[in-house]
């Protein structure tokens, strides 16, 4: 790990060493970190940021929620969903229709939207969660596209032209709303990660057959995780429809965002709590601050490139790679023995065992 000569590898090593130290500082201080993050975020609107800054930060929170929700099912449970945006669209449309056509106040509309998204997830989950790997991914993509097509063809949803919403809360209210959703979800996921529930999800990811053999009703656990992901995605969709003041099938069931949230979770490090949030902030920040300004119109090209590069160069994501490095350092410090066992156990590994590529057989 020394930097006696300045080759590229040594520089990378140096960065990783520093990152590993930072990682070890924060390790086990999840709640404190979240508290600091919440306080800092809560203060930002008081410092008179511009409207653009407020919008971008609000979007960061939104994508944090989406990426974390995806990770719950894709990273923690190992079911790589390509259809999470279906819940988002259902939440968005339910809220929009209730507010616009029925004049229902929006807090109540969110509750109904979330309930509908969860109910939809339960129904679809029974069907698609029997599949694994590629079959599951394609089936969920099919669910997303079918939802988009059906929404486009119905009258109640305003067809292809969508619904315009005018009576919406202020930018500041949205800021705190999305922040609250994100913080709440982070607490829930952090808590679950320590409970039996979270461990069973990881067991399903690593080897569903064994988890079943150990007596766990894996269908119950994975359906619960799937519904929880739908709950937060649906609420976020509901809030977003008002925030955006407009919903239509293309944006509410956004297939580009669908990949973006997966890229965020993977880039940050799936199977962790902080990874997807960091990935969401980093990638969306990059897109809004750099690409929108300097490479207008190339966002999706860059997104595709980021997905490919992440998967090929860093399949464990940023947090996963640092975690791995931290445990390797620990290992060397103790003369190449011991220590590794304790840290090895919590190395998040989105690759191995996430999916069974042998086919769509349910265990």
């Amino acid at each position: 790990m020394s930097t006696t000569n300045d080759t590229g590898a040594d520089i990378v090593d140096g960065i990783l060493d520093a990152a590993a130290s930072v990682y070890r500082f924060f390790e086990g201080r999840g709640l404190q970190t979240l508290a600091v993050f919440t306080i800092v975020s809560a203060i930002i609107p008081l410092t008179n940021p511009s409207g653009f800054e407020m919008t971008v930060i609000t979007e960061l929170f939104l994508f944090g929620v989406l990426a974390l929700s995806w990770d719950l099912i894709g990273g923690q449970t190992g079911y790589p969903s390509f259809g999470n945006m279906a819940f988002f669209g259902i939440g968005a449309y339910t809220t929009a229709i209730l507010v616009k056509s029925f004049g229902i106040a929006f807090p109540l509309a969110f509750v109904v939207a979330a309930a509908l998204a969860v109910a939809f997830a339960a129904f679809i989950g029974i069907i698609v969660l029997r599949l694994r790997g590629g079959y599951f991914a394609i089936a969920t993509l099919g669910v997303l596209l079918a939802s988009q097509q059906i929404t486009r063809n119905l009258d109640v949803t305003g067809g292809a032209s969508g619904i315009i919403l005018l009576q919406t809360p202020t930018a500041q209210e949205f800021y705190y709303l999305f922040l609250a959703i994100l913080v709440l979800e982070a607490i829930v996921v952090m808590y679950l990660a320590q409970t039996r529930f979270g461990l069973v999800l990881n067991a399903i990811r690593d080897d569903e057959g064994k988890a079943t053999a150990m007596g766990y009703n894996t269908t119950y656990y994975k359906t619960a995780a799937w519904m929880l992901a739908a709950l937060f995605t649906g609420v976020a969709g509901g809030a977003w429809s008002l925030f955006n003041t407009f919903v239509d099938p293309i944006t509410a069931y956004n297939t580009a965002w669908n990949v973006e949230i997966i890229a965020m979770a993977l880039l940050g490090g799936s199977g962790t709590v902080v990874g997807p949030i960091l990935g969401a902030f980093g990638l969306h920040g990059l897109i809004r601050m750099v690409i929108d300004t300097y490479f207008t119109g190339w966002q999706l090209v860059v997104l595709g490139a980021v997905v490919i590069t992440t998967v090929i160069a860093m399949p464990k994501g940023i947090v996963g790679t640092i975690e791995e490095h931290a445990s390797a350092m620990e290992y060397y410090k103790h003369g190449g023995q011991a220590a590794a066992d304790s840290s090895d156990a919590d190395v998040a590994d989105p690759g191995d065992g996430t999916v069974d590529d042998s086919g769509g057989d349910s265990p």
Binding site: I127, I308, G360, S362, P363
Partner: protein
């Protein structure tokens, strides 16, 4: 129009769906990759055909001979694209988890689609093949000549691929790699090259079908995903690695889509296809013509 007419229209288009799906199934069976960028090969093939015609005539109209001459060009160009894709990018994750290959190919799909929009805009384009009379009348049914030719072309492409796999040495190598890559390596087959060749062939047949699709329907930068999913429906229906299954699946899907469009409304065709996809996956994920799935609860 009578229902038979819709079915005939569907069967004519369905053969092209089948050809695309055979390519999709080939790469899935041999390299164990679900190529989510497969539809983009159809799109690129279509654009090769369109731009070849544009370059030679300055318009989008072509005589039948010229239009057909663009098909081998599309096949050749897209073969190279597919080969290069496997060699440079996809091979890096071939032996990893299938989820990672899905993401890489999805990333490629977005990039190709967006680059196509940047280069050629999102407008649909078509190659207009000139005939003196555009359609035949058989037993009260209208059969557009170009659709009939595209139908035959799709069958020829599929048959050629099938013959290549069955009869040539390289085809045998591909089948060997599909069965057992390690054993294939032991007997001296260059596995990486064979896989890239397979990827190239898979892309090439999609590109050739894309050229025909440009002549009978149109080519558009964002058409890819729909063809990928149609291929998936067909392969799931027919079973991976079953060429006859894919052919039947393609014809059936075409007939169902056209009948939906004719009897109900064309805006429901995609919703119906995706619903069929989900139902098929649930009922029989290994395909109606594939092996039985083991380990059902």
């Amino acid at each position: 129009m009578a229902i038979e007419q819709y079915v005939v229209n569907g069967l004519l288009v369905g053969a092209l769906f089948a050809a695309v799906a055979v390519g999709f199934a080939l790469i899935w069976g041999v390299v164990d990759i679900i190529n989510l960028a497969h539809g983009e090969m159809v799109m690129l093939g279509g654009f090769v055909s369109y731009w070849s015609v544009d370059l030679l005539t300055g318009t989008n109209s072509a005589s039948l001979l010229l239009a057909l001459a663009t098909v081998p060009i599309a096949v050749a160009v897209i073969y190279v694209v597919g080969y290069a894709m496997q060699r440079t990018l996809v091979s890096r994750v071939t032996d990893e988890d299938m989820f990672l290959t899905l993401l890489v190919t999805f990333g490629l799909s977005i990039m190709l689609q967006q680059l196509a929009i940047r280069a050629w805009s999102a407008d649909p384009r078509t190659v207009n093949v000139m005939f003196e009379t555009t359609s035949l009348n058989v037993a009260g049914l209208v059969i557009p000549k170009m659709k009939l030719i595209a139908f035959v072309g799709a069958i020829v492409l599929t048959a050629a691929l099938w013959a290549f796999l069955k009869l040539t040495r390289r085809g045998r190598a591909i089948r060997a790699v599909a069965q057992n890559p390690e054993a294939a390596q032991l007997v001296g087959i260059d596995v990486e090259h064979t896989r890239a060749t397979t990827f190239g062939l898979s892309a090439a047949i999609a590109g050739g079908a894309g050229a025909f699709i440009t002549m009978i329907l149109n080519v558009q930068a964002q058409m890819g995903l729909i063809y990928t999913l149609k291929s998936f429906v067909i392969v799931v229906f027919g079973g991976i690695g079953s060429v006859p299954g894919a052919l039947i699946g393609g014809l059936l899907l075409g007939a169902i889509e056209e009948t939906t469009a004719g009897v109900w409304s064309s805006k429901w065709t995609l919703a119906v296809s995706f619903t069929i996809l989900i139902l098929l996956l649930v009922v029989k994920p290994s395909g109606l013509f594939g092996p039985a799935v083991e380990g059902d609860e």
